[in-house]
């Protein structure tokens, strides 16, 4: 009775889904990029004929009438370029000699040029480390005394071909500083695991972000490296690149649903364009253990996004090759963990995941199990009340009839 009414408003507030559905419809219409249920995904390592200089991984996700190109590279700092085209036949062309030159403009192109509907990029520039001892405020900014950051452009990376896994559509960039006088990375490494998807789904490992065929996932993990302090917090400096002049808008989306990431009720998003045409999405949680249980979850804080000048950041050849030198960069910092609670120091391990894709970010909906339980839980007493009322009414009526006969 009251339950059913409650259910309706309950769902109404369950997620900001109507709004997002609307924007999904709006955004899919002009692009013709989205709504691709499945995509044919291929991973290709593009070799440099002149010698091993850096990894260039091309992920091509072909749908019925669109193609997404992800180009991941460890030339310079690790970076990714995302290009969406409105034809299933677009191709990536790489000119290595131009790409490796000081002016790489035009070294990377997606052809035909006029098919490009959306492009953006991310550059992972620095690994930050802070000393969090004597910091009582968990939300302090910066979260402690900073150590000199590691420049990811000065890391040496493994050969990506060795880690290519076509079954899971993934590859891992694993690196350590080229110059490591303190031997901090003697037994450790920083890894960027990239995974593409041919259809929507949800990985088994926390934070179990919902992905679609229009997105790919990056898992950053730091393992085995010795920290410079007893309670070191790590962070990552990330720069975004886009077509427009504005920075992507940052949004914290609160949801009621923490079924896939227990006790995490928030999704952080960066959205390109007024109507989202591209996104980065992550749960503000990192893990200090491989299995990623709730007892090893750390908060993950993102600083506000601010425009930055290209020369203040390490140069990424692939980004400059595609966007030119006038590209519009914005940067922000992610910090993993707080001075109290679990941290990297537990097992010298840290992992964090994000999703990069085109269109509007995927929205979690209540799982069928929850809906089923709710339907049963509210339906049963409701029916019982109804049935009971009916029986009593009939009973009452019959007994009054008897009385009238008497």
């Amino acid at each position: 009775m009251c339950g059913c009414g409650g259910l309706r408003w309950g769902w109404g507030h369950s997620a900001p889904s109507p709004m997002l559905l609307l924007s999904l419809l709006l955004s899919s219409a002009p692009f013709g990029l989205l709504g691709e249920e499945t995509r044919q995904v291929s991973l290709e390592v593009i070799p440099d004929q002149s010698g091993p200089t850096g990894n260039l991984l091309h992920i091509r996700a072909v749908g019925a009438n669109s193609t997404l190109h992800y180009v991941w590279s460890s030339l310079g700092p690790p970076a990714v370029l995302l290009v969406a085209t409105n034809t299933p036949n677009s191709v990536l062309s790489v000119n290595w000699s131009l790409l490796l030159s000081p002016e790489p403009n035009g070294g990377l192109m997606v052809l035909p040029r006029d098919s490009v509907q959306f492009s953006s990029g991310l550059i992972f520039t620095r690994l930050l480390e802070f000393d969090s001892t004597n910091v009582s405020d968990a939300a302090a900014e910066p979260p402690g005394r900073p150590y000199p950051p590691y420049l990811l452009a000065e890391f040496s990376w493994n050969n990506i071909t060795d880690t290519l896994d076509l079954a899971t559509l993934s590859a891992t960039f694993q690196g350590h500083p080229t110059w490591d006088p303190t031997k901090a990375f003697a037994n450790g490494s920083l890894a960027f695991r990239v995974q593409a998807f041919s259809r929507s789904g949800r990985p088994a490992r926390p934070p179990r972000l919902l992905h679609t065929a229009d997105s790919c996932q990056l898992e950053v993990s730091l393992a085995g490296a010795s920290s410079r302090g007893n309670r070191s917090l790590f962070g990552l400096e990330v720069a975004t690149v886009g077509q427009g002049l504005d920075c992507p808008s940052a949004r914290e989306q609160h949801s009621i649903d923490d079924e896939y990431a227990p006790a995490v009720f928030q999704l952080d998003q960066l959205l390109w364009g007024p109507v989202p045409s591209g996104f980065v999405q992550w749960r503000p949680v990192a893990f200090s253990q491989k299995q990623g249980g709730r007892d090893s979850s750390l908060p993950c804080q993102a600083s506000p996004l601010h425009p930055t000048l290209a020369y203040s950041l390490p140069k990424s050849p692939i980004i400059r090759a595609f966007f030119g030198s006038q590209s519009n960069l914005c940067a922000f910092n992610l910090t993993f963990g707080a001075s109290t609670g679990p941290g990297y120091w537990d097992q010298n391990y840290l992992s964090w995941s994000m999703l990069l894709g085109v269109g509007a970010p995927p929205v979690d909906t209540l799982s069928p199990l929850i809906l089923g339980i709710m339907a049963a839980a509210l339906g049963a007493p409701g029916l019982m009340l109804l049935g009971g009322a009916l029986v009593l009414l009939l009973h009452h009526k019959r007994s009054s009839e008897y009385q009238s006969i008497n």
Binding site: A263, F265, M384, L385
Partner: protein, 465 residues
């Protein structure tokens, strides 16, 4: 916890015990405070009685107040954390039947109270030592010992109340004891986090030692309770000498074979009770993190809102008790309480509305349910089976709390708070189903459960005539 039992007794006692002639007045001239026949002296005794239970209520919810600290310092997940509550409940699955028996036949009220207080004290000390030595199993064992004392101490407290205040201010006394229990829980919720940070500051770092020391300091309340038990024992003996008053008895007769004679409505009441209480106490046990994570509350605010159920229930229990007494219609009140709880949990689960609304509603409905549900047992059981019925009800309630605490912790670790809330909603809904069924069964059998107060009065009159 079994304040509900007190609630039941409080509500029942009003009718049954008023015929007591009262103790003969002492003829010797003593100062009012020292004269057992005078009000001032009884108030002193009342104060002692209230503080007798304070320690155990304060320490019962220590884990909830220090949830994040316990989990961090002891490196346990939520499932293991909830075992701290489960271990409290296990001994009481059995002891609920024997608490009264032990007091009446074995120890006597005075020694019984002292012994149970000792169990509470020792249990809390073991619990704290578990923290200091970083041994979680020791903490669990501490909670087990604490549980042995805790519930039986509540029975002893009631027995003292009856023995001293029968036919005088008994209902008021029960109400005050109940309020004191709630105050104990509330103070704990809001004090322990602060205490932990103070200990942390003085020891220099957080860790299992800090946790242990904090719990040890919290254990001082148990020592206070033990002192009250000793003082009460002395005063009670003194009163016996001066007034020739008898030692208090619970008067409970437990016959386990009675269980087979329990009627369908009684079983339905049991189901309502178990399904209802498991969505209140385990939720409070896990609530603090829920309020900080989902609603962005600070730690202090989360403690405050987590204790609001207790805060509301302290003043509202007597009010609702009076309301139910005056109106009757117990099933309707129970139905309202359960439905309100359902709504409150749905708000917490599916909306981002300010949780104060939902928690206040939960507090009100919890108080209402306690007042309306427990007295119903007396209407469906013959008087000689009442002790067994209440013992059984408490016992399966403890069993339910123990089992659901563990399940709730497991659900939270793997599926998160939304799923946990949905699970709780399913439990409340089962409770609601039972209420409706109870109404129908009672209606069909022409039972008296849903009589208004006037109908009850008329029935009583016709019986006596």
């Amino acid at each position: 916890m079994d304040e509900e039992d007190e609630e039941a007794r409080a509500l029942l006692a009003g009718g049954a015990d008023e015929a007591d002639p009262g103790a003969p007045a002492a003829s010797r001239a003593l100062p009012a405070l020292c004269d057992p026949s005078r009000l001032a002296h009884r108030l002193l005794v009342l104060l002692l009685m209230c503080f007798l239970g304070f320690g155990s209520y304060f320490c019962y919810d220590n884990p909830a107040a220090l949830q994040t600290q316990v989990k961090q310092d002891m490196q346990v997940n939520t499932t293991k954390f909830m075992l701290l509550y489960a271990w409290y409940s296990w001994p009481n699955v059995v002891l609920c039947f024997f608490g009264g028996f032990l007091i009446d036949r074995v120890f006597g009220i005075r020694w019984g109270t002292i012994i149970f207080s000792c169990f509470v004290c020792i249990g809390q000390v073991i619990f704290a030592l578990g923290g200091i030595f970083n041994a979680f199993w020791l903490m669990e064992f501490g909670r087990f010992v604490f549980g042995i004392g805790g519930e039986s101490l509540a029975v002893a407290q009631n027995t003292y109340a009856v023995s001293w205040f029968k036919g005088k201010e008994l209902n008021l006394v029960f109400g005050l004891q109940l309020s004191m229990a709630r105050i104990g829980s509330t103070v704990n919720m809001n004090l322990m986090g602060w205490l932990y940070s103070k200990v942390e500051a003085s020891l220099g770092s957080a860790g299992h030692t800090t946790l242990g020391v904090t719990l040890m300091i919290g254990g001082l309340t148990c020592v206070l309770s033990l002192i009250c038990a000793l003082a009460l024992a002395y005063l009670d003996q003194r009163a016996e000498r001066i007034l020739h008053k008898e030692q208090g008895k619970t008067g409970e007769v437990i016959k386990l074979t009675d269980v087979k004679d329990f009627s369908l409505p009684l079983w339905l009441i049991f189901v309502i009770c178990v399904c209802y209480y498991v969505v209140v106490f385990p939720f409070i046990g896990l609530g603090k993190v829920f309020f900080t994570e989902k609603f962005g509350f600070s730690s202090q605010a989360a403690s405050a809102i987590n204790s609001i159920v207790y805060v509301i229930s302290a003043p509202m229990s007597p009010v609702f008790g009076l309301l139910v007494d005056k109106t009757g219609k117990n099933i309707i009140w129970v139905l309202c309480a359960v439905a309100a709880t359902l709504v409150s949990h749905m708000m917490l689960a599916f909306t981002m509305w300010n949780p104060w609304i939902a928690m206040c509603l939960l507090g009100l409905s919890y108080s209402l349910l306690a007042c309306a549900l427990w007295p119903m047992v007396a209407f469906v059981v013959p008087e000689h089976q009442l002790g067994t019925a209440y013992g059984f009800m408490q016992s399966i309630q403890n069993l339910g709390l123990a089992v659901i605490s563990i399940i709730a912790g497991m659900i939270l670790d793997t599926r998160g708070y939304l799923f946990l809330e949905v699970f709780f909603i399913a439990c409340v809904s089962l409770s609601l189903l039972s209420v409706v069924l109870l109404y129908l069964v009672d209606r069909a059998r022409g039972g008296n459960l849903n009589y208004s107060a006037r109908q009850r009065e008329e029935m009583k009159m016709s019986h006596t005539e």
